[in-house]
């Protein structure tokens, strides 16, 4: 019964040594005689506090009770990581954190669109290079007319610094826009206001 949990050569070797019966049938060693119990044992060299100790004689272990479909299984399920990102609320007026769901994309009426990340956040980032001396604001996942969005964002960015001209770069292949400087908050606020 316990075979399903403890697998591997170390366990087999301990069974061979102990020659106990498991689930009614005696285990006979059907392996070549050359492979002795000592060769089946793992070397100790990779052991750490995280690796499990070598299995000793089964009689040394405490008696166990195997409970299938136990009532505590709900606590086990609670510990397992969700396989996908949970779906956030679709329609909400206001949330305390200020997070808003994105409006739906209509390619007919929308000139451009900025889709959310897989974690449902606005894809605006600050990229730092040259030991933090060069700061660039990056906007990702732009769909549609990227040039029109760059034009609109440029107005917002330049208005935030009293009309001073700001350098930008558009990569329409990957749908990314960069602005030279840290305008993450300004751009993010504008995009959220537009419903992206």
């Amino acid at each position: 019964m316990a075979c399903s949990v403890f697998r591997g050569p170390r366990f087999i070797s301990s069974i061979l040594r102990s020659s106990r019966t498991i689930s009614g049938a005696e285990i006979t060693p059907k392996i070549p005689a050359i492979i002795t119990t000592t060769t089946l044992q793992q070397p100790l060299r990779h052991s750490s506090f995280r690796s499990s100790p070598l299995v000793r004689d089964l009689q040394e272990y405490p008696e166990v009770e195997i409970v299938r479909n136990p009532p505590e299984w709900k606590y086990v399920e609670r510990l397992l990581r969700p396989q996908t990102v949970p779906i956030p609320p679709k329609k909400v007026e206001t949330l305390p954190s200020g997070w808003k769901p994105q409006r739906t994309y209509d390619p007919k009426s929308d000139k451009y669109f900025v889709r959310r990340t897989k974690n449902h956040m606005v894809p605006v980032y600050l990229m730092k290079t040259y030991r933090g001396m060069r700061q660039v604001t990056l906007i990702r996942y732009v769909l549609g007319d990227i040039w029109a969005l760059e034009k609109d964002l440029r107005k917002v960015v330049e208005a935030s610094q009293d009309g001073k001209v700001c350098a930008s770069r558009v990569n329409e292949m990957s749908g990314q826009i960069t602005f030279h400087g840290d305008y993450v908050d300004v751009v993010k606020k504008y995009l959220e206001e537009q419903g992206f």
């Binding site: 316990a2 399903s4 949990v5 403890f6 697998r7 506090f49 995280r50 499990s52 405490p62 008696e63 166990v64 009770e65 195997i66 409970v67 299938r68 479909n69 136990p70 505590e72 299984w73 709900k74 606590y75 086990v76 609670r78 510990l79 397992l80 990581r81 969700p82 990102v85 949970p86 779906i87 956030p88 609320p89 949330l95 305390p96 954190s97 200020g98 997070w99 974690n119 449902h120 030991r131 329409e172 292949m173």
Partner: protein
Amino acid sequence: MGSVTNTTEKALKMLRALPRVTIGNIRPNPDSKQRSKRGRGQHGGDKHGAGNKGSGQRQNFMRLGYETGNTPFYTRFPYEPYYKGHHLRREYRPISMLQLQTLLDTNRLDTNGIIDLTSICNTGLFSIKPDERQYGFQLTDEGADLFRGKINIEVQYASDEAIAAIEKNGGHIRTAYYDMRSLQAMINPQKWFEKGVPIPKRMVPPLDAMEYYSSAERRGYLADPEEISKERLVLAQKFGYELPKIEEDPDFERLTATKDPRQIFYGLEPGWVVSLKDKAIIKPK
């Protein structure tokens, strides 16, 4: 344009539709003459102004405070031991109240149980590395004013403002210590179960952390519950809010569920082996 006969015209028309083709990324004409490059700066730009040998040429930066062979200023005077024992200190990764509220708003946390280190790690947005002496999470007060969650949370360290923000909204907070082996199981329980190893028993905090985790003021998990309910009132008066009556709450059971000081997973006892494949728990008799 009706019919394009000229190849040059055809190419130019194509170029207009390909904005990424520039002078910078096209190949030179076949058999075109390659001119020798004119180096910039003194000596024809052979060193590019970076000098010969050493960190100047390799363009790497010396570590902070290094004085090229002198005894550095920060180690010259052994009188102010700010960093004494820094390699042994416990680190708690910060989570602000705003981040916690965003997790709650976007359904990243299950509010039916205790929000503990495991559930925060399971969001996939925060992680800790126990082997770098990160012993868990701390709640910082950024965004404490806008926090509106009624939750039962367990962190490793919390500021006064964070405790107040949670208790003001009818929530429950405890600070709890986990030893390094328990943390290894908690950061990824699935991996731990798949190893087929028993759930570890939580160790008691080390001596220097004992005071923190047994103080009611810090909502320590080893503190006297009577003292904690007194301190809840004290904090409410300090920050000037009316303490909601958690005893009369319909979710009282859910909100006040706590782990045993020796337990690391709620509802599961140390020493049990969980088999995910067989959906079985192996318990010692």
